[in-house]
Symmetry: C2
């Protein structure tokens, strides 16, 4: 599948498109999948959101910042972001998974979204990832 239109939607053109393909690869394909990128992307997302909250709410105590952060990075929010980013048709998964509605599953979309964040980060640095996350 041509990833060009997805790159347009993501606002980042990859130097290394293999990173983007890996980020879109669900564990059901049995080969290299996006779980390691999801692990990294979770931390990239956490930093970007924490930094933004820290700057935007200068009078909010730590506890309030933590509540806001948890609301923004919870799975459902990530799944919606993955949906909005148009990831679903590009997900690479086993036909059994795809046939049972895998492209609409929250956990799969959320994981892919975090993996894409990591891919953008590894490919373009924190500034590129920030641009994607904050859009």
């Amino acid at each position: 599948m041509d990833l060009g239109p997805l790159e347009e939607q993501l606002g980042h053109h990859f130097h290394n498109r293999d990173l983007l393909k890996l980020a879109l690869s669900h564990a059901s394909i049995g080969a290299a999948s996006n779980e390691r990128l999801e692990f990294l992307g979770d931390r990239v997302l956490g930093l970007i959101v924490a930094e933004r909250l820290h700057a935007d709410f200068p009078d909010e105590p730590e506890g309030g910042l933590a509540v806001r952060l948890n609301a923004l990075v919870r799975g459902e929010a990530c799944a919606q972001a993955g949906e909005a980013a148009g990831l679903a048709p590009y997900l690479i998964m086993a036909s059994s998974e795809s046939g049972s509605g895998g492209r609409r599953k929250s956990a799969i979309l959320a994981g892919a979204c975090e993996a894409v964040i990591a891919a953008v980060y590894l490919d373009g640095g924190l500034e590129a990832a920030r641009g994607f996350v904050l859009r």
Copy 2:
């Protein structure tokens, strides 16, 4: 207290030394303290460690990376890092806290260490924070 020797130890010279002072300020002083920076520093640390593990252990599944990360960023490890960084004498705290051994308390040292990571990050960017954390 002259913060110059501490900056030497940290390997970062601050453009804005108020950030470093804030990072060293324990909640017992009642004024602006380091808890908001600790919130941010926790995420800066998480990203830097996750990124390093992701690069250093290319064959480790996500679960193994998570175990390694949790071992490295747990409170006791951060407290030891704060101790090793020589933060204790520079901590700004109420005399009651200091008098009851506050400079040796794990939670206080760990919090200050995370806050200093955030201060280095805000002052010098991710590269500067990476340099401090990975030393």
